[in-house]
């Protein structure tokens, strides 16, 4: 099998058995990036030379028999994680030349375990978007194609570059961040697995902030087991993040293949929403049947405040974003546009540095936090957020895990939905509620739709029960036998 088609688990075994070297493995991936990135634009900053050097060191570690879980494994890093000495842009002009003098905790953990970073992946600007079309470095193309149609599809967002890179074989896995669905929705659109851990499971230190009460890092990979391997490395307590939770990190891989006999799987009625495509509805039914066959008990549940998740999100997230992005003032870092006065400098800098979606969200957030409107919008949304979380807490008294679609439709054509912001926000209708509640959730590809595009199902679990997600996800993965690969990928480009 080609090196760009392997799973992380198989590549780690192959490296230990000396079937191939880390240099060969990494070279196959950086060559694939050279060949395909001009088209896909999945990477903002490929780091070819640094990756090849790190691969040489990985081979030395392997030769000494000191390999760790990810030694020599080529990964893509969403360009929202600060990487020491490597430009980190958040896909924004305001950080176009920002070179962090420190490493985020998540990437430091991956480096500790031997991972080789092949580049910084594209995203929606400051992770604000659902189609990876707001990047200041241009849109990402989804490597999948509709049957007989070469139209460029969106990879989803905001972790669209990570999803496209993993799907196309330009990385074996990648980091993502998820604020309202930014790992799960692109994973579904690109036919890969994406896991958003419980809020507090992975440190936010060194991850450029969008909405701090929602942002959470997680793995994206081509198998459930690979996500478990990556999460094992990424997760853990960090004193430098005040919302990091100090609880043990279990052996995630041990959950793969665990018996599901007697597991109670909830099917929330409210996810049979308007706008759910027939093919995704059918995939959901198929998923229910597979889990039943695996010994699960299927239970109908209700999450009555589901429909208010998005509206709540679009108050809370912009409010936090307007506060977080106040730091981009043209003084301490980022690009500066001169002005006669301090305020004129701020205004010119932020107008030039931020794209339209980011400016819109900052303004929305500024408004809902402003005197006279705070109670009507922000406080109200925080109260509805309590009710959304309560829905999940009550459901998890009856069931162990929830099964829903990840997104209402498969990937759509670039430019198809971009005119109306509200229409674009609706792509996240099924992913936002778990984010609002801080619950862990995962998207698993389960099949192809009528036009040949991948369809994903979402599992939502109890706080800090990523193991049940991985166990249930691996059962879905096995039943689905999803081995489809996109039209544009490293192996096919040879």
């Amino acid at each position: 099998m080609s090196l760009t088609e392997l799973t992380i688990a198989d590549a780690a075994s192959g490296l230990r058995a000396r079937q191939f070297s880390a240099v060969e493995l990494v070279r196959a991936h950086v060559d694939a990036i050279d060949a395909l990135n001009p088209r896909l634009n999945a990477y903002i900053t490929p780091t070819r030379e640094a990756a090849l050097k790190a691969a040489q060191q990985a081979d030395e570690v392997l030769a000494r028999g000191e390999a760790r879980s990810l030694t020599g494994i080529p990964l893509g890093i969403k360009d929202l994680f600060c990487t020491n000495g490597v430009r980190t842009t958040a896909a924004s002009n305001i950080l176009r030349n920002f070179v962090p003098p420190y490493e985020s905790t998540v990437t430091a953990n991956l480096l500790r375990d031997g991972a080789v970073f092949v580049g910084k992946t594209n995203l929606d600007e400051f992770a604000m978007g659902s189609a990876n079309i707001t990047s200041a470095f241009g849109p990402v193309e989804n490597p999948w194609k509709r049957n007989g149609d070469d139209a460029a599809l969106v990879p989803g967002g905001s972790s669209g570059g990570s999803a496209a890179a993993v799907a196309a074989g330009l990385a074996m896995g990648a980091t993502g961040t998820d604020t309202g669905g930014s790992i799960r929705q692109p994973a579904a659109y690109c036919g890969i697995v994406g896991l958003k851990p419980t809020y507090g499971r992975c440190s936010r230190f060194g991850t450029i902030a969008y909405a701090s009460s929602l942002d959470q890092a997680g793995p994206m990979a081509r198998s459930v087991r690979d996500c478990a391997i990556m999460l094992q490395s990424m997760a853990g307590f960090d004193e430098r993040d005040s919302t990091s939770v100090n609880c043990d990190v279990p052996d995630y891989s041990a959950a793969i293949g665990r018996s599901l006999k007697g597991l109670k799987v909830g099917i929330p009625a409210e996810y049979r929403a308007e706008g759910l495509s027939a093919e995704i509805g059918a995939a959901w039914q198929q998923g229910i049947a597979w889990l039943k066959a695996a010994g699960c008990e299927i239970v109908d549940v209700s999450l009555p405040h589901t429909k208010y998740g998005l509206a709540t999100y679009y108050i809370v997230a912009p409010a936090e974003c307007s506060s977080n992005l106040a730091r981009y003032d043209g003084l301490r870092f980022g690009e500066r546009v001169p002005g006669d006065t301090l305020d004129a400098m701020y205004e010119a800098t932020r107008r030039a540095g931020f794209g339209p979606e980011v400016r819109r969200r900052i303004m929305m957030g500024t408004y809902v936090l402003s005197a006279g409107y705070y109670d009507a919008y922000y406080l109200k949304a925080q109260k509805v957020r309590t009710l959304i979380r309560r829905d999940f807490t009550e459901a998890f008294q009856k069931v162990d895990v929830l099964l829903t679609p990840t997104a209402p439709t498969p990937a759509f054509v670039q430019g198809e939905q971009s005119d109306d912001p509200v229409q674009m926000y609706l792509n996240d209708i099924f992913t936002v509620p778990a984010s609002m509640a801080g619950m862990p959730a995962m998207s698993v590809p389960v099949g192809l739709g009528a036009t040949g595009l991948p369809l994903g199902l979402q599992l939502i679990g109890r706080p800090f029960d990523e193991e049940t997600l991985l166990a249930t996800g691996s059962a879905l993965e096995q039943a689905a036998g999803f081995t489809h690969r996109p039209a544009i990928r490293a192996e096919a480009a040879k």
């Binding site: 003098p101 009460s213 500066r336 957020r385």
Partner: protein, 95 residues
């Protein structure tokens, strides 16, 4: 609630985002579209509900009040768009 042009200008000013007069109508339309859509939250009865300020998984921790970082002035200044010696520069703010 519907935003008028003056409010759009005021929000932009509060957010320190420069806008041209020609930007106002489009921004007004987009922001009003979003605000009209979030009005649906008015249907929800939140009487007596406590606002959620975090996910509640972690209690705020205390730590010893000691210096844990520092002596990295050059690293801190390394991304400044404009610096003079060990200082950031700003436009003149005192007349």
């Amino acid at each position: 609630m519907s935003l008028d042009p003056a409010t759009v200008r005021r929000i932009a000013r509060l957010a320190r985002i420069g806008i041209d007069e020609s930007d106002v109508p489009a921004l007004q339309g987009e922001l009003n579209g979003i605000l009209g859509w979030v009005e649906q939250l008015n249907e929800v009865d939140v009487e007596g509900v406590t606002p959620m300020v975090g996910t509640g998984h972690a209690a705020l921790r205390t730590r010893p009040d000691v210096v844990t970082d520092g002596n990295c002035r050059d690293a801190v200044l390394s991304n400044a768009p404009d610096a003079v010696g060990p200082f950031y520069t700003v436009p003149k703010v005192v007349e």
